[in-house]
């Protein structure tokens, strides 16, 4: 029966093509739309998470309180022990990466090694040397590299391209980091600029340098110490799920603090934060989802409307057929049932096609993005210059379900018109048509 119906549906252009294309377009639009909105929003969240906040973040409270100073003397000791603890007390999907946020003065020498200029920089240290590490992927290191390469040897540095331009330094040049070590001692260490990066985040491209975490620990004398642990969940986890993980970890954390490792200073007190807790992302996220569901709602509504029209249209095309089938003795309800099934089939086919088109387009936007660089060049905010869409399961669900529903609902609403017609009328129209 289904196969029979399907054959009918596929052969009849007017019965199939129009509603099919409407569902396809509708689903494709919603997939792209949700992808676009998610992309803009999650792009911001992820940018913040990847570069700065993590999905989860374990940080020493004394450090967090004075983050603006980047007080390395408030770092958390016991890196190895902490790693073990984190592994043990968090779900296994969470990957933890150590980071060091530091700040220092960068001394640029002239060709004689005399100080040419000095400028304060913001520094981040992370694992840059493990090939193909998630950390590199997360930071999109390879893609962000404008020239040069990633660090391989000790004391190699990546520099924001705009910063390099301001300082007038280039690849291969050696610069000296002047700062304070963990215990307040003086740090002076040479780094060779081996790569220029452009994250598209002006705040970073203008101010930031990146070094490997082992180099940082070496330079700043932070043996077995870091300032931050960033925890990342796989992409399919939502913002809400970060909260759950965070909540589940609070109890063990309390116990841990109650009997702290020996390496900790007496006022050390690790805090566990989620990305929501930082930079007010929680409130922004809440509002975003309200707006998103509102937009998707309007879309679904519109799609039903369009499909309703399409249903009526195909219904009219088929008055004759309907009359004939009624004449053959098919009851009304069965007629409507088959129409419903046809609607479902068109809906499913349309949803598949729409998912493919919308998905492909969204994928394209996700991979390529479209550059709004000029607008952001000077904003200095944590927003990416390139807006990318994001393909999510949620996006498909939000598009496919309404698409199929709209198709069925549209057909059924339209079929009510047929239901109301008498056999005789349908027959006459069969003759006339």
């Amino acid at each position: 029966m289904i196969g029979f119906l399907l054959r009918g549906v596929l052969r009849d252009k007017s019965r199939f093509l129009f509603p099919f294309s409407v569902v396809t377009i509708g689903v494709a639009l919603v997939v792209s739309l949700v992808g676009f909105m998610e992309g803009v929003f999650m792009g911001m969240i992820d940018m913040t998470a990847n570069l700065d906040a993590g999905h989860l973040r374990l940080v020493n409270k004394p450090f967090y309180d004075e983050e603006h100073l980047r007080p390395l003397d408030r770092s958390l000791a016991g890196q190895k022990e902490t790693r073990v603890w984190l592994k043990k007390n968090s779900p296994e999907q969470v990957e933890w990466f150590p980071r060091i946020r530091w700040g220092a003065i960068l001394d640029v020498p002239d060709e004689n090694g005399e100080t040419l200029s000095q400028t304060p920089v913001v520094g981040m240290a992370l694992d840059l040397k493990t090939k193909n590490s998630m950390e590199l992927k997360r930071m999109k290191m390879e893609e962000s590299l404008v020239s040069g390469r990633l660090p391989e040897s000790p004391n190699e540095m990546l520099m924001g391209d705009q910063l390099a331009e301001t300082l007038g330094v280039g690849l291969g040049q050696s610069v000296t980091v002047l700062g304070q070590s963990f215990d307040g001692g003086m740090v002076a260490d040479n780094y060779k600029i081996i790569g220029l990066v452009k994250f598209g985040v002006s705040a970073m491209d203008k101010k930031m340098v990146l070094i490997d975490i082992s180099d940082a620990q070496n330079s700043f004398y932070m043996e077995d110490m870091i300032t931050d642990w960033l925890g990342f969940l796989p992409p399919q986890y939502s913002l809400e799920e970060y909260e759950v993980v965070k909540k589940d970890m609070q109890e063990p954390l309390k116990r841990w603090i109650a009997s702290p490792p020996e390496s900790w200073a007496k006022d050390d007190h690790p805090l566990l934060l989620s990305v929501r807790d930082q930079q007010n992302i929680g409130a922004i996220a809440d509002k975003f989802y309200v707006i998103q569901s509102f937009v998707v709602g309007i879309f679904t509504f519109l799609m039903i409307l369009v499909l309703w029209n399409a249903g009526i249209l195909s219904g009219i095309h088929r008055y004759g057929e309907m009359g004939l089938r009624l004449a053959f003795g098919e009851p009304h309800w069965k007629l409507i049932l088959t129409l419903g099934i046809e609607g479902l089939m068109v809906g499913i086919l349309g949803a598949i096609a729409g998912s493919i088109f919308g998905g492909a387009y969204t994928y394209f936007l996700q991979e390529v993005g479209f550059n709004m660089g000029d607008n952001f060049a000077q904003t200095g905010m944590m927003i990416n210059d390139v807006v990318r869409a994001r393909l999510t399961i949620g996006g498909f669900v939000q598009a496919v379900l309404p698409g199929i529903f709209a198709s069925v609902a549209g057909t059924l609403v339209a079929s009510l018109a047929i239901y109301k017609r008498s056999e005789a009328n349908l027959f006459r129209e069969l003759e006339a048509g």
Binding site: S14, F18, E66, L69, L302, L313, F376, T379
Partner: protein, 389 residues
């Protein structure tokens, strides 16, 4: 008569016509809303920036860069006479210096910003500073913003040490009394900023008569020794961001309009399909095909016209209500936007007019495209309902 027949036909569609209208109306409302909210946002952000910092632009000491604190001390001067003779409501002298605050005896680098107490160009919550005299008594009165107070754990009445350098480079430090924690509205003059009386800051740093910039109400033309920075330059980052937001919301809206137009287009196709006999009849009665197209287009356009009416009926009360309630964006002020807790949409008649024009145009186009083929319709086939299949 075209109008009459179009109208009657339009109403005959019943529910579907209404839903088309409703959706179009909602699209119109959402467009106006989005744009107005952004306007409101921009207007408020601009107003706040202008009111707290930018004024009508700055006459700045050349080379002064707010992002290079270590160089602030090297970029001050005594402003030109022509600036000084401006009235206090047309100018505000501002001196910015680097300092170190010691809340809980931990170092906190701050921007010390002195502004003249007489000025009324900038509106800042510095009333409590005005009560103090020109001479510094035993403590320096200072005001910090809410955000700064939270970050540095300060409250009204706190006394803590402020350290700075005077013009000669001598180190100086005194106790500062937080006489008020004010709502600065603009995070840029809140975060990491300690506000002092200009006369106090000048005497503290031994910079009598000096400024980092003079904010003015109106551009005065070029003045020797200082360079003018326009409001646009001073607000460049915010304006760029808003441009981005506008673009994003336009993309959303464009997609929405595509669907609206698809719906109207689709309705029209249905219309001519269902009514081709009628079209044939009208032709037989001697109506010119162009006129039939006009009627059908008009029918489709009625969706737009009614949408305008519905949008007005639903939208106006909504907008009025919203104007009273506002949109809570307290989260944004955390994220360094110069915005208060609530923004109110700013409805701009011209913009709304153009938006409506676009909507009507698009809908009319969507109504016209499918019916324009009526011109080429064979009346004999149309009469038999076989012209379009």
């Amino acid at each position: 008569m075209n109008w009459d027949i179009a109208k009657k036909n339009f109403y005959r569609q019943g529910m579907r016509a209404f839903l088309n209208v409703l959706v179009t109306a909602l699209s119109i409302i959402s467009l106006i809303f989005m744009l107005s909210l952004l306007n409101g946002f921009q207007a408020q952000a601009t107003r706040n920036l202008v009111a707290t910092d930018v004024g009508g632009g700055h006459y700045r000491v050349p080379g002064f860069d707010i992002l290079s604190p270590t160089e602030w001390e090297d970029h001050t001067l005594k402003p030109d006479e022509s600036l000084l003779k401006l009235s206090d409501k047309d100018k505000a002298e501002v001196l910015v210096q680097q300092g170190q605050l010691y809340p809980n005896r931990r170092l906190y680098p701050v921007q010390i910003r002195g502004v003249s107490m007489e000025q009324s160009l900038l509106s800042l919550p510095l009333d409590n500073l005005k009560k103090y005299g020109e001479q510094i008594e035993d403590v320096i009165p200072g005001v910090v913003g809410v955000k700064m107070a939270r970050k540095a754990h300060l409250k009204k009445g706190d006394i803590l040490t402020l350290k700075w350098r005077d013009k000669s480079g001598a180190v100086d430090a005194r106790d500062i009394l937080i006489v008020d924690v004010g709502d600065m509205v603009n995070p840029r003059v809140d975060d990491g900023v300690v506000w002092l009386r200009l006369d106090h800051l000048r005497s503290m740093t031994d910079r009598q008569g000096e400024v980092s910039w003079v904010a003015v109400r109106n551009y005065m033309g070029p003045i020797d020794g200082v360079e003018f920075q326009t409001v646009e330059i001073l607000m460049a980052d915010l304006l760029a961001l808003l441009k981005q937001d506008r673009m994003n919301s336009k993309i959303l809206w464009a997609i929405l309009m595509i669907l609206v137009c698809t719906s109207v287009f689709n309705t029209q196709i249905l219309n001519i399909f269902k009514r081709q006999k009628e079209v044939g009849t009208l032709m037989a009665l001697g109506m010119e095909p162009m006129r039939i197209v006009r009627i059908f287009t008009l029918e489709g356009a009625l969706a737009a016209i009614w949408a305008l009416v519905i949008a007005a009926l639903l939208g106006v009360p909504f907008f009025i209500w919203f104007q009273g309630v506002g949109f809570d964006v307290s989260h944004l002020s955390e994220a360094s936007f110069p915005i208060r807790e609530t923004i109110y949409p700013d409805y701009q008649p011209k913009e709304i007019f153009y938006s409506l024009l676009i909507v009507v145009f698009l809908v009319v186009m969507a109504a016209w495209l499918p019916v324009k083929k009526i011109i080429r319709l064979d009346p004999t086939l149309a009469l038999r309902g076989r012209a379009i299949t």
